[in-house]
Amino acid sequence: MAIHTLLFASLLIFSLIPSSREGNKGRLFSVLQNSLDVTGKPVQDGVVLEAGKDMVTIKWKLKSSGKVDADATFKTIQVKLCYAPISQVDRPWRKTHNELFKDKTCPHEIVSKPYDKTPQSLDWTVDLDIPTGTYFVRAYGIDGDGQEVAYGQSSDEGRTKNLFSVQAISGGHVSLDIASILFSVFSVVSLLVFFVKEKKKAKLEQRE
């Protein structure tokens, strides 16, 4: 019986795991062309942005200094919010990898648009679920097969300049705190009530 359950569990697991041999495995960031010019400027410089409230003005266009038809294969532009190295310290789930499918530098998508040869601009309000941290903006040029072919970012290569900071929402509410207190008090008080009842019952037994 144990063997059957084990085998069944194994089958269940295997059927749920997607094949790791995806098409774009092994595609490296270092082979991408830096042919996009991207800027990401917060509304006010030097101020910590509040998630859900403050805005970042993002602009992207093809670099004029690049090759003539560098954008020939572009079908979509995907703009993402990326962690600066300082926000990656001691957080392996945000680690930068050269292999694109492993890379976790830019988990938050800002916008994904069909490629337009004209310069684009967007006023983006920082999403409610963006964590506290220091960020920059990166745009990927994606071809018809969904593969990245080029990129551009608002920071330098070392990702130390032109960064901006975000303060996340706390997610807490006064109503939650009140509920916590109420339920906790209820638990402890009912424990005391039970104790008193037990003692009374024991005294009754003694009298019999």
Binding site: M1, A2, T5, L6, A9, S10, L12, I13, F14, L16, I17, P18, S20, V89, D90, R91, P92, W93, F101, K102, L128, D129, P131, T132, G133, A168, I169, S170, G171, G172, H173, L176, D177, A179, S180, I181, F183, S184, F186, S187, V188, S190, L191, F194, F195, K197, E198, K199, K201, A202, K203, E205, Q206, E208
Partner: protein, 500 residues
């Protein structure tokens, strides 16, 4: 509120006139185990106790599956998460030791419900934490509730007789430990339901924690309302009516800690249950990072490790009882040592495997062995001491958590060892720390490598040695006497020990 009259039954009637739904021995402990019954008091105690323990496990490990959200909300670092993991299992080291004595004094019903109700606030307050310190603290205090393990084992050892105590202990603990796996599935589902109702990510996870908190509170109520400490009644009621004499705390504790077998079981349990707890904390991350799976997949794999407890740990307990029927206590010891050592070997193996498929296969087999070893441990523990059963159970249980704390500190904190090396080293340490099982020796039954003492020591001699002549004159030892009589079954079928 109508409370069932458990104490009333025990008050004035004699044992001869009491009737139980199941066949019982001289101590009124059930000699059979009927899983689908909820008959008072034996099977009811079983179902109440495993469910309460299950709820505590769900609460203690409710955070790991939601960590990807929580770590972003609270801006946690990997160090914070590691510390919180250690905190979650370290609180109950102390709590398990105390729980053993509390059970000896107040009875498992009150002791366990008191712990469960007083740690529920930690789970509720998780909804309001705003910083890494808050996170570490709520995980620390919520983790105390894992001490309900000791009350589970104590309660089962009080309700079920020798031939079935291993099975009862194993199933109760296994189904409780199941909570560590179930929570990896439950919490993400609750979270997404709450999200669907419109809450933001960073609020939804907070609301989700009320579910384990509520279940913990309600399970404690069930134990208090429907449970009973002993087949004959409740501790307090029985104390007052004189049926159960109150024992001297100091003597109970000193008798327990001076029994070297309790220390060996504590160490060995640290390297089966301790390994299980460590894996509960690190395995999802291991699969996520090493094989680049997405979080849901890593979570399902993590859950399957804990879910094996449904049959693996009970299997260990049942196997222990089966071995005892034929080979007595020596069979229990051999089975335990072999299964635990094999678990260590598989663990060492797991860290060396590079393929995803084989990692999962080895992990599943490893989970069965390590959890069965936990079940086999508590096939032996009820026999080490009768007077200080609670203390021995507490020590052993605490040893499990100490093993988890030590292992995480040595092999899984910071970046000294890669995760895979840590897992291999943990396996090797398991093998080493299982060797002391070879040194457990009962003069009346023998040990792994030696037969029973040539001095023809009886079970009565062993268990009554825990009481002084003065205490025996006061008839304090009668429960131990009855236990000694029923434990003769641990000689096994082919008895080389002549009847005295």
């Amino acid at each position: 509120m109508e409370v069932e009259g458990k104490g009333g039954e025990a008050g004035t009637t004699t044992t001869a006139t009491r009737r139980f739904a199941l066949p019982v021995d001289a101590e009124n402990k059930s000699t059979t185990f009927r899983l689908f019954s909820v008959a008072k008091p034996h099977m009811r105690a079983f179902h109440l106790s495993w469910f309460q323990f299950f709820c505590c496990f769900v609460s203690t490990f409710a955070a790991p599956p939601l960590l990807p959200i929580i770590r972003e909300n609270l801006n946690l670092t990997a160090t914070d998460i590691g510390n919180a993991g250690i905190a979650s299992v370290s609180g109950s080291v102390f709590a398990r030791i105390v729980m053993g004595t509390a059970c000896d004094l107040f009875g498992p019903r009150l002791a366990s419900a008191a712990l469960t109700l007083s740690t529920a606030p930690a789970v509720y307050f998780t909804a309001g934490i705003k910083s890494p310190i808050g996170f570490i603290m709520v995980r620390f205090f919520a983790g105390f509730s894992l001490a309900t393990f000791v009350s589970t084992q104590f309660w089962m050892s009080s309700m079920f007789s020798g031939p079935v105590v291993g099975s009862a202990n194993g199933i109760a603990a296994g189904w409780g430990n199941l909570g560590g796996g179930a929570t990896q599935l439950i919490m993400p589902i609750v979270f997404s339901l709450i999200r669907r109702m419109g809450a933001t990510k960073f609020t939804a996870w907070r609301i989700a924690f009320f579910i384990p908190g509520l279940f913990q509170t309600l399970s404690a109520f069930a134990v208090l309302l429907f449970g009973q400490d002993l087949p004959d009644g409740d501790y307090w009621a029985m104390h007052k009516s004189g049926e159960k004499e109150k024992d001297d705390v100091g003597k109970v504790i000193s008798n327990g800690i001076s029994n070297y077998r309790g220390w060996i079981t504590a160490l060995a349990y640290g390297y089966c249950f301790g390994v299980e707890l460590t894996i509960d904390n690190i395995i999802a991350e291991y699969f996520f990072d090493r094989f680049h799976l997405n979080l849901q997949t890593a979570g399902i794999i993590a859950a399957s490790f804990g879910l094996a407890n449904f049959f693996a740990r009970p299997g260990g307990g049942i196997f222990s009882d089966l071995m005892a029927r034929r080979f007595g206590m020596r069979g229990r010891l051999w089975a335990w040592w072999i299964v635990q050592t094999l678990g260590g070997v598989l663990c060492a193996f797991l860290g060396q495997i590079h393929s995803l498929t084989w990692s999962i296969v080895v992990m599943l087999i490893f989970s069965v062995f390590v959890q069965a070893a936990c079940g086999l441990t508590f096939g032996v523990v009820p026999f080490i001491s009768r007077r200080s059963l609670g203390v021995i159970s507490g020590m052993t249980g605490a040893g499990g958590n100490v093993g988890a704390v030590l292992t995480q500190l040595i092999f899984f904190k910071g970046s000294t060892y890669s995760r895979e090396t840590g897992i291999t080293l943990m396996g090797i340490m398991s093998i080493a720390c299982s060797l002391p099982i070879c040194f457990i020796y009962f003069p009346q039954w023998g040990g792994m490598f030696c037969g029973p003492s040539s001095k023809k020591v009886t079970e009565e001699d062993y268990y009554l040695a825990e009481w002084s002549a003065k205490e025996k004159a006061k008839n304090l030892h009668l429960a131990s006497q009855k236990f000694a009589e029923t434990s003769v079954s641990e000689r096994g079928r082919a008895s080389t020990h002549p009847q005295t």
